[in-house]
Amino acid sequence: MAELLGPRLYSCCNCRNHVALHDDIISKAFQGRHGRAFLFSHAMNITVGPKEDRHLMTGLHTVADVHCVDCREVLGWKYERAYEASQKYKEGKFILEKSKIVRDNW
């Protein structure tokens, strides 16, 4: 009759590790290195790499690459600092590339 309605999860494309919740999506309209990307307020089971300054489409940001904690595949990045007022809202949030995550229907 019924299947348990768990939280909708996204997993790493390389090893099925759960990395984010659908409920934490803030925007689906971001651009990553390899195509579309999503902005998440939280990510889990990931490690954050060293900080670097990058010039992105929206200006200068300090970001840190985000890896799956199990297979260490790069999934996106985390915004550590934004240098323009209009971009401040991104600080502390995560970009996960659409090509690197799959929705867990299990």
Partner: protein
Amino acid sequence: MRGHAWINTILPDELIIEIFRCLDSKLSRDACSLVCKRWLKLERLSRTTLRIGATGSPELFVHLLARRFVNIRNVHIDERLAISLPLHSGRRRRNEVMCLPFNSHHATDNTGAEGALESSYLSDAGLIALSVGFPNLEKLSLIWCSNISSQGLTSLAEKCRFLKSLDLQGCYVGDQGVAAVGEFCKQLEDVNLRFCEGLTDTGLVELARGCGKSLKTFGITACAKITDVSLEAVGMHCKYLESLSLDSEIIHNKGVLSVAQGCPLLKVLKLQCTNVTDEALVAVGSLCPSLELLALYSFQEFTDKGLRAIGVGCKKLKNLTLSDCYFLSDIGLDAVAAGCKGLTHLEVNGCHNIGSLGLESIGKSCHQLTELALLYCQKIVNSGLLGIGQSCKFLQALHLVDCSRIGDEAICGIAKGCRNLKKLHIRRCYEIGDAGIVAIGENCQFLTDLSLRFCDRVGDEGLIAIGKGCSLHQLNVSGCHRIGDVGLVAIARGCPQLSYLDVSVLENLGDMAMAELGEGCPLLKDIVLSHCHQITDAGLMHLVKRCTMLDSCQMVYCPGITAAGVATVVSSCPSVKKILVEKWKVSERTKRRAGSVISYLCVDL
């Protein structure tokens, strides 16, 4: 008469009911109900538990159920679970349920409801029908029943006086309802409240006053308006309280102190309250000598002082969980070890200041330890686990996650000292390699559940030793890329009882292992093959030809498996319940045959 069932006519009703009481799965009960009219009637008489999801017409449903099952004691209504009807197969969102034609009948039942939207959720009328239909109700669970109010709960309380357990999650019931429960249900033992935004201290105080003499278990999670006042009432009236579980940001020391003072029989305490500090723990230590289980979660302000008080006062402590308690260090754990010698379960999760010295003390004093879990403990080194290995002969389960400084030496020590080990789970401990696992295989003959995930130094040698020495039921070697066919073949030959196998993300695993697994492990029920690039249809075919009891199979990202392989799985395993695979690998014919069994990998975000 040939073929006549003699025994059925001789067995009296009572005996058949007794036999049905031993059936614990719904599937068995349903199967018995289909045998004959007599069995149908008797099974209905012996059924005591009902689980109801979101239906299109809850009142009607409850009426039907009350007519059919008269001896129900436990009702569990969870409106998050939508029934997937044939009309809407594949879409399980709750909103879909409202499209049913039943709605129009029941819009009039709800005097206060507006629109067809709400009539599809259980309302007060439904609760009243429930109480009338099941007056002997003992356990009631209402989960996300957003349409019920105090009115319904009051009526239920008045009629179901034998209520023992009440679980309200995500319901907007108000204080009058809960107060009524306190007034009428004098046998209430368990109360659990989660996301009940309509409840304030007023209602809970009345509940505590009314059920004080019977209440044994009390839990509050995320109820925004319940404060220390409620806990003071619990402390004042509920002398026999044994278990308290709190997850709230507005509860302070005062509340916990009141419970510690008023409930001397407290056995279980779980706290996830950011505003509770050492003061409360110290009080618990001195006032609750019967405490057996203590769990402290997340960002607490607890320091060693509080833990020391627990060590001194709670001599009967058996089960301790410390999760994200950043300020706790070896000193605190040392105090617990010295005082709580009967400790059997210990979990240390993300407490970055706890190191090996604390563990060594535990090892020295707590010889009854049966379960140990160390998660994200970067400070713990081999000596900590060696201490455990030396003295904890009864250890049955060891769980290690992200303990990057623990290596083979520690695992060898555990293997030699803890020969009763049944369950070993290791994830991302990069210093552990074949040497440790070989020691486990040589010494721990009772091991049945082994999980080594992403331990990239473990290889075939370790698995060969395991295959020789342990008869595993469950094995997970996901991500240990040194493991290949040789290791899995050893497992296949040595573990005929294997029922769960996860070999995902293994690049070197091929068809030979699959064939051997088919030969050696016919009892296999669940298998995960995802991300194995070298497994092809051939290997899969050999596996499923022999493992016909397969319940579930996950095989996404396997480029060697095609539609033919998927079709073979479906046709060879008649009892398979779940298959996870890419959509384009399922042919029309397979879709028709297998239907709801197949789940598709969703890359279409």
